[in-house]
Each structure stands twice: as structure tokens, then as C-alpha cells.
């Protein structure tokens, strides 16, 4: 079930360069949210029509947390919201990561987040009760969410400029630290996901990737945000799965990146 809500901003602060951290009080969405799902956030500016899909970073059943990067006018508007402001959201949307509701599967998990793909890893790390490794990649030492992620698993950091942790990509960090596991959950830019897919394939590890694509409706009706899939999609039977509805999380083997 999805909900169209006018929710209330509980708090907001900037936690890194261009990265904002907002807690939202919702009637239903927070309670129903699962890690890897996202919400559509609508702007108040009528010249900007389309909702912005933003991943769910954390939920406590009553409140929802989003951590997002300001990339344009829409997200710039959101970054100005103060406690008590209304925020129009739709959610929870998408499928989420395929973890057992109990959080336990007996398999060791590797959670990999890159840049603004890191936030959904927090709720995922909280829910997974198995042994887990968390690997995150940043541009530089201006990090975010790392201290919180550390509470839920062994954390390894990679930075593009080498100013913190492994100099290089998340996969460089995985290799350098000989990190191993039975299943990978990843969210980040497409080049990172491509590398994770290859790494998983080379090492025979099951991998689940959270994809991003330009969206309009966010609920599977408009067919804007499709990705190439190995299997026929359920909507049009043409190997074009909908990122917003069939995803955003896909088995690495089922999508072409």
C-alpha cells in the first residue's frame, strides 16, 4: 500500500557539503517502509512538476529520515525546509532489499554504498541481524553517516582522493581489506554498480543492486524509468523493467548496466 501524504518536517540539518539530513513525521509511510524503498518528494514550486525520488535512510515506525544531496532547484527547496514545515510525499515506493523480515538468514552480508547511495545502507544495516561488512565510498574525507554505520557492522571507507581509508573505489577497498561475504547489497552511481556486478560475478557472490533513473510518476505507470533486464518485464514483456516499481533493487544478474 502506498500513501499520498502531507507530512511534517521534524528537523533538518546539513551534515556534509551539500548533504542534508531530514526527519519527517508521517501518518503511515514511515511505518510501512522497508530498507531500499524510496519516497517521491514534491516541490512547492509549481514550475517544477515532477517529484524527486529520494531513498529512505532510516525509519523508526513513526518518523522517516532522508539524507539527500542538493543537485538542483528542487532539492535546494527541500534543503530550506524547517521544523514544522509541510512536505508532500508519496510512499513507500519500490521493492526494497530482499532481506528476511526477521533480519536473519545465516549468510554474511556485504553492504556497499557510494556517495548519495550510502543513506539506504543505514536502515539495511540496522535490520540485518547476520554478520556483516559495510563498505562506503566518498569523494573525500568530508564524510557522512559513517559514525552511525559503524554501530551496526565493521565499516571500511574508500575515498576518491585518498584522504581517508583506501585510495580508490569501494571495490578497491573490498580487495585491499580482503572482505568476503555470501551476499552483496549495493547502492550508488552506475559505474560503481557496474563494478560491483563484475566483482560479484567474478567471485560467485549473489548481489542486489539499487538503481537510479529519471522518474516521472514514481509508481510504474509512465514507463519513463526503465532499465534493460535479462528477463521479460511483467508490464510490457520487452525486457524493460521499471526501476520505480519492479526495482529499484534488482538482482545483479537480471539487469544490464
Amino acid at each position: 500500500m502506498k500513501f499520498d501524504e502531507t507530512a511534517i518536517v521534524e528537523s533538518q540539518r546539513q551534515i556534509s557539503d551539500g548533504i542534508y539530513d531530514m526527519w519527517i513525521m508521517t501518518a503511515n509511510i514511515a511505518e510501512k517502509s522497508f530498507p531500499g524503498q524510496f519516497i517521491s518528494v514534491y516541490t512547492n514550486d509549481a514550475s517544477r512538476l515532477l517529484p524527486r525520488p529520494i531513498s529512505i535512510c532510516e525509519t523508526d515506525g513513526r518518523r522517516l529520515r532522508i539524507v539527500y544531496r542538493v543537485v538542483g532547484g528542487g532539492t535546494a527547496e527541500f534543503s530550506g525546509y524547517k521544523a514544522g514545515d509541510k512536505i508532500h510525499i508519496l510512499g513507500p515506493l519500490g521493492n526494497g532489499f530482499p532481506i528476511d523480515r526477521s533480519g536473519a538468514s545465516g549468510r554474511k552480508a556485504i553492504l556497499i554504498g557510494g556517495g548519495i547511495g550510502i543513506p539506504p545502507m543505514l536502515e539495511l544495516a540496522k535490520r540485518i541481524q547476520d554478520d556483516k561488512e559495510i563498505v562506503v565510498g566518498y569523494r573525500n574525507s568530508d564524510t557522512f553517516l559513517d559514525r552511525e554505520l559503524k554501530l551496526y557492522g565493521n565499516l571500511t571507507i574508500a575515498t576518491d582522493d585518498g584522504s581517508l581509508g583506501t585510495h580508490g573505489t569501494v571495490i578497491d577497498a573490498v580487495s585491499a581489506n580482503k572482505i568476503s561475504g555470501d551476499v552483496i547489497y549495493a547502492c550508488g552511481p552506475t559505474p560503481m554498480l557496474r563494478a560491483v556486478k563484475q566483482y560479484a560475478l567474478d567471485n560467485g557472490i549473489e548481489a542486489w543492486l539499487s538503481l537510479e533513473e529519471r522518474m516521472a510518476c514514481g509508481i510504474g505507470a509512465c514507463l519513463a524509468c526503465v532499465c534493460r533486464s535479462t528477463d521479460k518485464d511483467s508490464h510490457s514483456m520487452v525486457h524493460n523493467k521499471r526501476v520505480c516499481k519492479d526495482g529499484p533493487v534488482f538482482n545483479a544478474a537480471e539487469v544490464e548496466l
Partner: protein, 300 residues
């Protein structure tokens, strides 16, 4: 107070429907919208066989609007008839199936296949700007419009709506051509061909280079064209293009539209169709209008 309108012998409980391609077949929107309240659901275009559509990115936001080049991805008539029509049949609303094709033969095949289906009206898309063959090619010359209309009408069991393109010099010529070909209704406008350049990536914002511009930005163009078309033909006109509120819808009705479609607004307000229906009723009460039909085309 009467909000019922009549399109080629089909009575709709109100004049508000969905614009093709913005609402799927209603399945995804049923979480937010009671489909029983809609005058009709106009489905996303369906062809004789599945179409994969265009590469991504397929959409871009522009000031007050959006550009799309989805390219009519659809599952083909067989899957559609087995899944989407039975779904819509559960609701007390009229079913209008939008038909697309790359050739006259394609259109006819779908129209014939729909003859025995519980579909109320057919909308023939001769105006999609995002597919290379067919689509808009049929909609940009009066002779072609008349020809394809006549061919479809010959094969169709249900009344036929011809959906016209705004990407023409004189919309009245196309409207008259559709009427001459035997169209029961015309609908307009489809999207305006547009382009957006992504200055950061220094390339086109949508992979197809061009796409269809929709949303509030195009409304004044749409109202003007609906007014011109409605005054050029005797058959009913369905007006659309940037409608997000009842006020927008009423402009189209006063300009001559018998019914209206809500399109892009569904993306930023999933219950936009219901808001439009409720707003029209409020307007009628406030103005003391007994029958919605008394508003159609009264602005001359």
C-alpha cells in the same frame, strides 16, 4: 445538477478522463484514485505487438512542464486484452483504448482485435512525436488524417476518437479531415515537439533528442487549438494539454470541449482527476449551472 456528457452515443458520468500514457491502465493509480469516479479511463497506447520504446533517459523536466520520449512502450494487444481490459471492467467507468501503430495495417489489426472486447471507445493515436514510423506521420497532413480515419472507421466496432497533433500549421484542417473521414470524436492536443539540452553533460536531456512537451506550460496553446477545432467541426471534441485543476478544465469546456483529459498532472498530484471533478461540481454550484452541457463552447 447534471455532469453527464455524451460522446458518440456513449454516456460518461462526468467529462473528466485520463490522458493516454500518463495513467497506464489505471492499475498503479488505483491506490490513490477511486476509478469509479472517473468519466473514463483512457489507456496507454497499445499496438499489435509489444514495443520496447526508446532508450533512457526518457524524460526531462522543463519550466512548467516536462519532455517525454517514452516511445510508446507497450505489451501488445494480446497481453493488454487479457490483463488490462478485465482489470478496468471491474470498475464503473468507461474504457477508452488508445491505439498506436507503425502502419495502417497495425492500427487495423488492433482495432479488429478490440471489436469483441468490452471497450467503449477507441482513441487512435496519429500524433505521437516520439516514434520514427507511424504515429505523427499519419497526423501531419490532412489527406493522411482523412485516409487513416476512414480505414479505421471501416474496421472499428466502437466509436472512434482521432487524437490530433498540435505540431501542424493549421489544426482546423486536421480536425475537418478527421471529421470527413468519419471520426466520431476528435481529441487534442497531443504533446508539442520540444528539446532540452543538458549543459552539464553537453548533450540532449532525453536520449531521443526530441520529445513531447506537456504540462501547464502548453495549456494556452491547447486551449487555443481546442477552440479553433471545436469551431471547425460538428463532432465532439475532447480537450487536453496542461490541465491540472478544475479551472484549467473549465477553460477547455468553455472553449468548446465536451470532455477533458488530465495528463501530466497525474505525475505531481496522483488525485488530480478527482480534484478536477470536484472542482467542476463546485463551480457549477457556485454559478448556478444545472447542466454541464450548458457550458460547452459558450465562449465564442
Amino acid at each position: 445538477m447534471n455532469t453527464r456528457i455524451n460522446l458518440a452515443g456513449v454516456e460518461l458520468k462526468n467529462p473528466v478522463m485520463t490522458a493516454s500514457g500518463t495513467f497506464g491502465s489505471g492499475m498503479e493509480y488505483a491506490d490513490f484514485v477511486d476509478l469509479n469516479k472517473l468519466g473514463a479511463v483512457v489507456t496507454k497506447g497499445v499496438a499489435n505487438v509489444p514495443w520496447p520504446g526508446n532508450p533512457t533517459p526518457r524524460i526531462a523536466e522543463v519550466y512548467g512542464g516536462m519532455i517525454n520520449a517514452v516511445g510508446l512502450q507497450n505489451p501488445g494487444i494480446d497481453v493488454f486484452a487479457g490483463r488490462d481490459i478485465p482489470f478496468l471492467k471491474k470498475y464503473d467507468t468507461k474504457i477508452i483504448v488508445n491505439v498506436c501503430g507503425k502502419s495502417e495495417r497495425d492500427y487495423i489489426e488492433v482495432v479488429e482485435r478490440l471489436a469483441d472486447e468490452p471497450v467503449d471507445l477507441l482513441e487512435i493515436n496519429i500524433s505521437c512525436p516520439n516514434v520514427k514510423e507511424g504515429g505523427i506521420a499519419f497526423g501531419q497532413s490532412a489527406a493522411n488524417v482523412e485516409h487513416i480515419t476512414r480505414a479505421v472507421k471501416k474496421a472499428a466496432k466502437q466509436p472512434v476518437i482521432m487524437k490530433l497533433s498540435p505540431n501542424v500549421t493549421d489544426i482546423t484542417e486536421m480536425a475537418k479531415a478527421a471529421e470527413a473521414g468519419g471520426a466520431d470524436v476528435i481529441s487534442l492536443i497531443n504533446t508539442l515537439t520540444g528539446m532540452k539540452i543538458d549543459i552539464n553533460r553537453q548533450t540532449f536531456a532525453v536520449a531521443n533528442k526530441t520529445g513531447g512537451l506537456s504540462g501547464p506550460a502548453i495549456k494556452p496553446v491547447a486551449v487555443r487549438m481546442v477552440y479553433q477545432a471545436a469551431n471547425a467541426v460538428k463532432i465532439p471534441v475532447i480537450g487536453m494539454g496542461g490541465i491540472s485543476t478544475a479551472e484549467d478544465a473549465l477553460e477547455f469546456i468553455l472553449a468548446g470541449a465536451t470532455a477533458v483529459s488530465v495528463g501530466t498532472a497525474n505525475f505531481y498530484n496522483p488525485r488530480a482527476t478527482l480534484d478536477v471533478i470536484e472542482g467542476i461540481e463546485r463551480y457549477m454550484r457556485d454559478k448556478g449551472v444545472e447542466d454541464i452541457n450548458d457550458l460547452i463552447g459558450i465562449v465564442k
